[in-house]
C-alpha cells in the first residue's frame, strides 16, 4: 500500500505553528464574541470543528443566533462564505451546481459547469430539515468526499471547506429529519442554549442600537490549512487512546462495557467516525492547552458534541425522552469520569 506523507516539520516549526494556531483561535473567538454574545463553549467547539475541517450540525430554537454565529465565522476569516436556505423546493443542483449551456466567444455553444454554493469555504445550510431527502443527499458526497459529481464529472472543493447546518428542533411538521448516514458525517452536533439574563441584556444592547459591528477578516485559506496540518501533528497518549476506545465501545448496547442506560435505551452506538472526531478535536484542545499530546481529559471534553448525534435511541428511549446527553454522561461515567 502506497502512502503519501507530507514532510514533517521540525520541532521549532511545530512550536511556531502551534503558537500561531493559538493566536488565530483567540483572535477568532474574540471577533465572534464581538457579534455573538455568550455561549463560549459553543463558539469554542465550532472553531475547533472548523480547524479540524469537520462539519457541524447546530441545533437550537429559532432566534438564538445560529445563523449569525456561522456568518460571523465566515466573515472573521478571509474565506469565501455561502448560505443555502433550505426549503422544500430546493433542488440538488441548487446546492452542487449544474451544467449550463453557454455560448463561447467564438460563437459555439457548449455546456459549462456553474458551481453551486457548496463550493465556498464556509457553507451555511440554514434550516436543513425542510429540504427534501433528495436535496439533503446532495450534501452527502460533498460532506464526506469534499467533491461533487455533476453529469459524471467530479469537481473538487477547495480546502478549507466546512458545512455548518442548522436545524430547528421544535418545528417538526413538514420537515425531513436527517438520516443516520448523513448525521454521522457531521463532526459535531452543537446545541445552542438559551442565553443567560446578562447575555440577553447584552444582546438587546448590541442589536437595538445604531452601532454596526464590523469584523476584520484576518486569516486566509492558507493559514487555516496550516492550522489543520499542525493539529494533526499532535500525538495521542495511550490513556487518551484507550479512553476513546472505551467510550465508543460503551455506546454499543451489546457490549459488556455499556452502562445500563445504554443497554436499555440505545439501539445503535457510535461509529468509528465518532472516535476520529474525538481524537481530532482532542488534538485541537491539546494545542490550545499548550500541549503536544492528547490527554484523556481532552477526550472527555469533546465526547458530548462528537457522540450525541451518533447514538441512536430505541423506541423506549425516545418515548421516555432520554436525551443523548444523558446517555453520553452515563458512558463517560463508566469509562473514567468526565474530567479524567
Amino acid at each position: 500500500m502506497n502512502t503519501s506523507q507530507s514532510p514533517s516539520p521540525s520541532s521549532a516549526d511545530i512550536e511556531t505553528q502551534a503558537a500561531a494556531f493559538r493566536d488565530c483561535f483567540h483572535h477568532l473567538r474574540t471577533e465572534i464574541g464581538r457579534v455573538y454574545v455568550g455561549q463560549p463553549s459553543l463558539v469554542e467547539h465550532l472553531l475547533v470543528c472548523f480547524f479540524c475541517q469537520g462539519h457541524a450540525l447546530i441545533e437550537g430554537a429559532p432566534g438564538l443566533g445560529k445563523t449569525v454565529l456561522v456568518r460571523t465565522l465566515g466573515e472573521a476569516l478571509d474565506l469565501s462564505f455561502a448560505r443555502i436556505q433550505c426549503t422544500p423546493d430546493l433542488m440538488p443542483a441548487d446546492v452542487t451546481g449544474t451544467n449550463l449551456l453557454a455560448e463561447t466567444p467564438d460563437g459555439l455553444r457548449e455546456f459549462s459547469f456553474r458551481p453551486g454554493p457548496i463550493f465556498a469555504n464556509v457553507v451555511l445550510a440554514d434550516a436543513i430539515n425542510p429540504a427534501t431527502p433528495r436535496t439533503q443527499a446532495a450534501f452527502l458526497e460533498a460532506l464526506q468526499e469534499r467533491h461533487v459529481t455533476v453529469f459524471g464529472v467530479t469537481h473538487q472543493i477547495d480546502a478549507p471547506f466546512a458545512v455548518f447546518a442548522t436545524q430547528n428542533p421544535i418545528e417538526m411538521e413538514g420537515t425531513y429529519p436527517l438520516p443516520e448516514a448523513q448525521l454521522d458525517r457531521f463532526f459535531f452536533k452543537l446545541s445552542v442554549g438559551t442565553p443567560s439574563l446578562a447575555d440577553l441584556e447584552e444582546i438587546l444592547t448590541r442589536t437595538t442600537g445604531t452601532e454596526t459591528i464590523r469584523i476584520a477578516p484576518r486569516h486566509g485559506a492558507a493559514t487555516v490549512r496550516a492550522m489543520t496540518d499542525i493539529i494533526k501533528q499532535v500525538a495521542v497518549s495511550e490513556p487518551a487512546m484507550q479512553r476513546v476506545l472505551r467510550i465508543v465501545r460503551a455506546t454499543h448496547p451489546d457490549t459488556d462495557e455499556a452502562p445500563p442506560l445504554v443497554k436499555k435505551y440505545v439501539r445503535y452506538g457510535a461509529s468509528p467516525r465518532a472516535a476520529q472526531a474525538m481524537i481530532l478535536a482532542g488534538k485541537a484542545f491539546a494545542l490550545l492547552d499548550g500541549r503536544y499530546h492528547v490527554a484523556a481529559a481532552d477526550v472527555a471534553r469533546v465526547a458530548l458534541p462528537a457522540l450525541n448525534h451518533r447514538i441512536i435511541r430505541n423506541f423506549h428511549g425516545e418515548m421516555e425522552q432520554i436525551s443523548p446527553a444523558a446517555i453520553v454522561d452515563a458512558v463517560l461515567d463508566v469509562t473514567g469520569g468526565r474530567s479524567a
Binding site: S8, P9, S10, S11, D13, I14, E15, K232, Q233, V234, A235, V236, S237, E238, P239, A240, M241, I279, D289, G290, R291, Y292, H293, V294, A295, A296, A297, D298, A340
Partner: protein
C-alpha cells in the same frame, strides 16, 4: 499522530539502565523523565512494601502469640516465625504489585494532574518524531521539581493501627509473661540452665533459703523443674546456655506440673506427668497408669534426673504425711522422666521409682541402682552436684516431719548413687 506501542521500551528494562542504551537520548529530556519515573516506581514499591509489611508483620506476630498464649500447644517461637513469614509475604506482594513504568507514569499524571504528560513522554521518549521532543520536554519541565516522597506519601493502613499495638502487646506477653506462675517457670528454667554449668557449692551458697525451699534448692535444678514449683528466684544465678535436649526435657517437666496435663495429649510425652500432684486419688491413679516413656534418655542422664527428682520428692512429698500413698504415686510418676518401659535399663528403672515411698516395685530400686549402676558411666556433673543434693536432702530430712522409714529410704538412695569416693 498516534504513537505506536513499538516505541515503548520493554517493561523489564530498568530506566536507569535504559539511559545508557543507544538511542535512548534521541529526545532531549528523556533522561530526566525516565529518572523521575524510576524514582517514582521505587517509591511506589517502597510504599507498597511498607503498607503491606505494617499489616502482615503484626498480623503474623499476633496470630503466633495468640497460638502460644492459648492452650494450643504452639511453640514459643511461633510469633517470630509467623511475623517473619508475614514480612516475607509482604515483600513478595510488594514486588508483584510494583507497577510498570507506564503505569507509574499514569499514576504520576493522576497525582500531579499532569494531563497524561508523563505517560505521553514515556511513550515518545524513544521516538524520533519532532513532536516527541516537545512532548518529552514538556513533561521534563513539569517533572523537574518532582518530589516522589510528597507525591506518594506513606500512609499507615487502618488495619496496621490496630494490629501493631496488638502484636506488641501479645509479643510482650509471650516474651515476658505477666503471670507469676509463668514467670516463675521461666526463671526456674533459667536457673536450670545455669545449674548445669555451675558448681554445686556456688549454687548452694547463693542464698539462705527457708528450710523447705532450701531442700528444694539443694536438690538441684532438675528437681525444681520436675516439681514444677516456683519461688527459687532467690537462688538464681546467671544462667549459661544448656544443651537443647536438656532444656526441652525440663520444659516438658514444667508442663507436666499443670493439672490439665495429667492426662497426656496425643503426641505428647506421657512421662511429663511426673510431679503432677493430682488433686484427687483418681488423678493419682491416672498418673500412675500413665505409660512412662517419652524422649529416650541415656542411662547416666536418666540416673541423674532420677536422683535429683527423688531428692526433691523426698523433701516435698514427705511434707504431707497425711497422704503418703498419693505422694508415693506422684513420686513414681516423677521418676519416670526420660525412660520408657521398652528401653528401660536397670538404672532407668531405678530412677523411675527412686523417689517414691511405696514398698512395691519402688522399694527394690535403690538395690537395683546399687547393683546395676555403672559409676564409670556417670557424667562429670554428678560428682560435683552430689554433695549439694545429698546435703539438701539431709537437711530436709532433719527439719521436716518425715516418717523414719522414708528417711532411711532417701539415705539409702543417695548411698546407692554416690560417686566413687563419696560414699
Amino acid at each position: 499522530m498516534t504513537i505506536s506501542r513499538d516505541h515503548a521500551q520493554p517493561e523489564w528494562a530498568d530506566a536507569d539502565a535504559r539511559q545508557d542504551a543507544p538511542g535512548a537520548e534521541i529526545v532531549p529530556g528523556a533522561a530526566l523523565v525516565l529518572t523521575a519515573l524510576a524514582a517514582a516506581r521505587r517509591r511506589i514499591r517502597l510504599t507498597l512494601l511498607a503498607r503491606a509489611a505494617s499489616v502482615a508483620g503484626p498480623a503474623g506476630v499476633t496470630l503466633g502469640a495468640a497460638g502460644v498464649l492459648l492452650p494450643l500447644g504452639s511453640p514459643p517461637w511461633l510469633p517470630v516465625l509467623l511475623g517473619s513469614a508475614g514480612l516475607a509475604g509482604a515483600t513478595v506482594w510488594a514486588l508483584l504489585r510494583t507497577p510498570s513504568l507506564a503505569s507509574t507514569a499514569s499514576a504520576l499524571d493522576a497525582r500531579l494532574d499532569l494531563r497524561d504528560r508523563t505517560a505521553a513522554a514515556y511513550q515518545l521518549h524513544g521516538s524520533s518524531s519532532p513532536v516527541a521532543g516537545l512532548v518529552v520536554h514538556d513533561a521534563a519541565t513539569h517533572l523537574a521539581a518532582l518530589s516522589v516522597a510528597a507525591v506518594f506519601p506513606f500512609a499507615v493502613p487502618r488495619a496496621a493501627l490496630v494490629l501493631a499495638p496488638l502484636a506488641v502487646l501479645l509479643g510482650t506477653a509471650v516474651a515476658w509473661p505477666v503471670s507469676p506462675r509463668d514467670r516463675a517457670e521461666r526463671e526456674t528454667a533459667a536457673q536450670s540452665g545455669a545449674g548445669m554449668q555451675q558448681p554445686a557449692a556456688a549454687r548452694s551458697s547463693a542464698t539462705t533459703p527457708a528450710p523447705e525451699t532450701a531442700a528444694r534448692n539443694s536438690a538441684g535444678p532438675e528437681a525444681e523443674a520436675s516439681r514444677g514449683t516456683r519461688g527459687t528466684a532467690a537462688s538464681a544465678t546467671p544462667s549459661e546456655p544448656r544443651p537443647p535436649r536438656e532444656r526441652s526435657e525440663e520444659t516438658a517437666g514444667r508442663r507436666g506440673a499443670r493439672p490439665e496435663d495429667t492426662v497426656p495429649r496425643p503426641g505428647q510425652s506421657p512421662a511429663r506427668g511426673k510431679d503432677a500432684n493430682p488433686a484427687t486419688p483418681a488423678d493419682a491413679r491416672i498418673a500412675e497408669q500413665q505409660p512412662r516413656g517419652g524422649a529416650p534418655a541415656t542411662p547416666p542422664d536418666a540416673a541423674i534426673a532420677a536422683a535429683d527428682t527423688a531428692a526433691a520428692q523426698g523433701g516435698r512429698g514427705l511434707a504431707n504425711p497425711a497422704r503418703p500413698s498419693q505422694a508415693g504415686t506422684v513420686a513414681r510418676g516423677s521418676g519416670g522422666r526420660g525412660a520408657s518401659d521398652t528401653d528401660a535399663t536397670p538404672l532407668a528403672s531405678a530412677g523411675r521409682g527412686a523417689g517414691g515411698v511405696s514398698q512395691g516395685p519402688l522399694a527394690a530400686l535403690p538395690r537395683l541402682a546399687s547393683t546395676g549402676f555403672d559409676r564409670s558411666q556417670a557424667p562429670a556433673g554428678l560428682a560435683a552436684r552430689y554433695p549439694t543434693a545429698r546435703a539438701g536432702a539431709e537437711a530436709a530430712l532433719t527439719r521436716d516431719t518425715v516418717p523414719p522409714d522414708l528417711r532411711d529410704y532417701v539415705r539409702e538412695y543417695f548411698r546407692a548413687i554416690a560417686p566413687a569416693g563419696q560414699r
